[in-house]
């Protein structure tokens, strides 16, 4: 039996939803309108063929950095999540707590030493120099999600594998990973989206415009004293740069929602 909701309440609920949804759709609709207000659809051509801004390069850079970071994150967080969940060793709880405490550390608080360190090892203005801190700061939330997931798999499966003489890595890769498809997809999607959206780290560490990811490349479309047409072109650029995120959203919404919830439910 479903609890019934009064008819009047339903109408009020729809009105609330429609009001809020129009507030949320307003900026998106306005940006679309603005992108063609002066100069029409040609603005998109102008942006795609701009001299100062290479759209496909920015997309490629974001793809490279977010892709590499999320591969690293999936790898290190699933390995460690397995150990923290299923293996016994001295210092397990201490190491895990110390790692999770880093969840509260904002990148912004440590940009100064971070810049110095990356600069010292000669990785400033390189893709790798961005990928390393990107993976580092995003891996902890994913570790939490992976560990919580492995906690739901019964220990007996590990013990059975051990009796069969399987090594730890074999147990991990042959027994646990195949049971973890959706969680791995969740962790991968979430890492990719968070890394793709990062602005502070590339802004801190990259200097060459040809290495800029989309979040940083936006600035290339902004000038002092912009004409109305240039502003329309900027809007067109912003919309073009959002398209990959929307595509990811459409195809992986399920994983994104699962990840957001998994990261918050058990802290």
């Amino acid at each position: 039996m479903r609890s019934r909701t009064p008819r009047g309440a339903k109408i009020t609920m729809y009105l609330v939803l429609i009001f809020l949804a129009s507030l949320w759709l307003f900026p998106i609709g306005l940006a679309l309108y603005k992108s063609i207000q002066v100069g029409g659809w040609n603005n998109y051509n102008v942006v795609l063929n701009s001299d100062v801004f290479n759209y496909w390069q920015a997309i490629g850079n974001s793809f490279l950095m977010a892709g590499a970071a999320s591969l690293v994150i999936v790898l290190v967080s699933s390995l460690a999540g397995f150990a923290f969940s299923k293996l016994r060793f001295r210092g397990r709880n201490l190491i895990y707590s110390l790692l999770l405490a880093c969840l509260a550390v904002p990148v912004a608080a440590v940009v100064t030493p971070l810049f110095f360190s990356i600069n010292t090892v000669g990785l400033r203005d390189s893709y790798l120099g961005v990928i390393i801190p990107l993976a580092a700061f995003n891996s902890l939330m994913m570790l939490l999600i992976m560990k919580n997931h492995f906690d739901t798999i019964p220990d007996e499966m590990i013990e059975a594998a051990a009796l069969d003489g399987a090594g730890l890595f074999r147990t991990f890769s042959r027994i646990l990973l195949p049971l973890s498809g959706p969680t791995l997809a969740t962790v991968g999607t979430l890492s990719f989206v968070y890394s793709w959206n990062e602005f502070l780290l590339p802004n801190l560490l990259l200097r060459s415009a040809e290495k800029f990811p989309v979040t940083q490349a936006i600035s290339l479309l902004e000038f002092d004293r912009m004409s109305l047409e240039q502003i329309s072109q900027l809007y067109a650029g912003l919309i073009l740069m959002t398209i990959p995120s929307v595509i990811v959203y459409l195809f992986a919404q399920r994983y994104l929602q699962a990840g957001v919830t998994a990261g918050a439910v058990k802290s």
């Binding site: 609890s3 309440a9 609920m13 609330v16 809020l20 949804a21 949320w24 900026p27 306005l30 690293v72 390995l79 460690a80 150990a83 923290f84 293996l87 016994r88 060793f89 190491i95 110390l98 790692l99 405490a101 880093c102 969840l103 509260a104 550390v105 904002p106 990148v107 912004a108 608080a109 440590v110 940009v111 100064t112 030493p113 971070l114 110095f116 993976a135 580092a136 700061f137 891996s139 730890l168 602005f199 502070l200 989309v214 979040t215 940083q216 936006i218 109305l228 900027l234 809007y235 740069m241 959002t242 995120s245 959203y249 919404q253 994104l256 929602q257 957001v260 919830t261 918050a264 439910v265």
Partner: protein, 289 residues
Amino acid sequence: MNRRIQPYLFVLPVTVLAGVLIYYSIGFAAWASLTDWNGLTTMNFIGLDNYVELYHDPLFWTALRNTFVFLVATITIQAGLGLLVAVIAKERLVGSNFFKAIFFLPIAMAPAIIATVFKYMLEANYGSINEVLRSMGIIDQSTVIQWLGADLGVWSIIAINVFQWMGFSMMIYYAALMSIPEELYEAAEIDGAGWWRRLLSISIPSLRGTTSVLIILGIVGALKTFDIVWLTTGGGPGGSTHFLSTLLYEERSNREAGYSSAIGMVILVLAFLLAMAQIRIANRDGGKS
């Protein structure tokens, strides 16, 4: 290989990558905050001078106040709206998935892009918001509302953050609501409890732990907030809309590396203290987190 050593090999990569990098950076910042470091060469120990200077810096207090106003406002508004939408979505009205998708979409989009869109919409002279208000006759043709100025800047930043993250609170509340056993509602209905009664005596009390988690995430999130401020007001005009994070970033680019590290330490201490306080309060109230 030895079974005693093997577990450490599994945790080694993440420990080296994240643990060592982050703790090393914190240690480095703690030391640098006690020096007159310029980010490159000079690095003389000057004791607590940076913190004393910070105490006398009006910009620091402005940034602290803005960060705190933002923290309280975003947590409250996002939790309030998120709960409202989640409660409605739980009714499984026709089309509620569509609405949920709209509110969740901004989470997939980069704050940097959203901030830039809003910056041009909120621009005082030719920005769309003022244009729309003028054309609807809500404000005078000659009126120029400084949405990103000293008075309203922080509130515009709060609004942008709500646009981006409300869907997050909504989704968390929705998941929590769906995990409440349906039998509870059915039993209450048989006992004659109405819709509001069921909301107030079953749904809301069950969401305590969830609210507590959202508050902790909101505290950390507020201290992490950078893109939206940096790309809209940039902390201006005259430093009036600085957050701790943007003030730190600006001081760093002014070659005040020691001073900016001191701001970083303040952010870290605040993050830990506020998160700890919230966890204690939640535990005392008997809420689960």
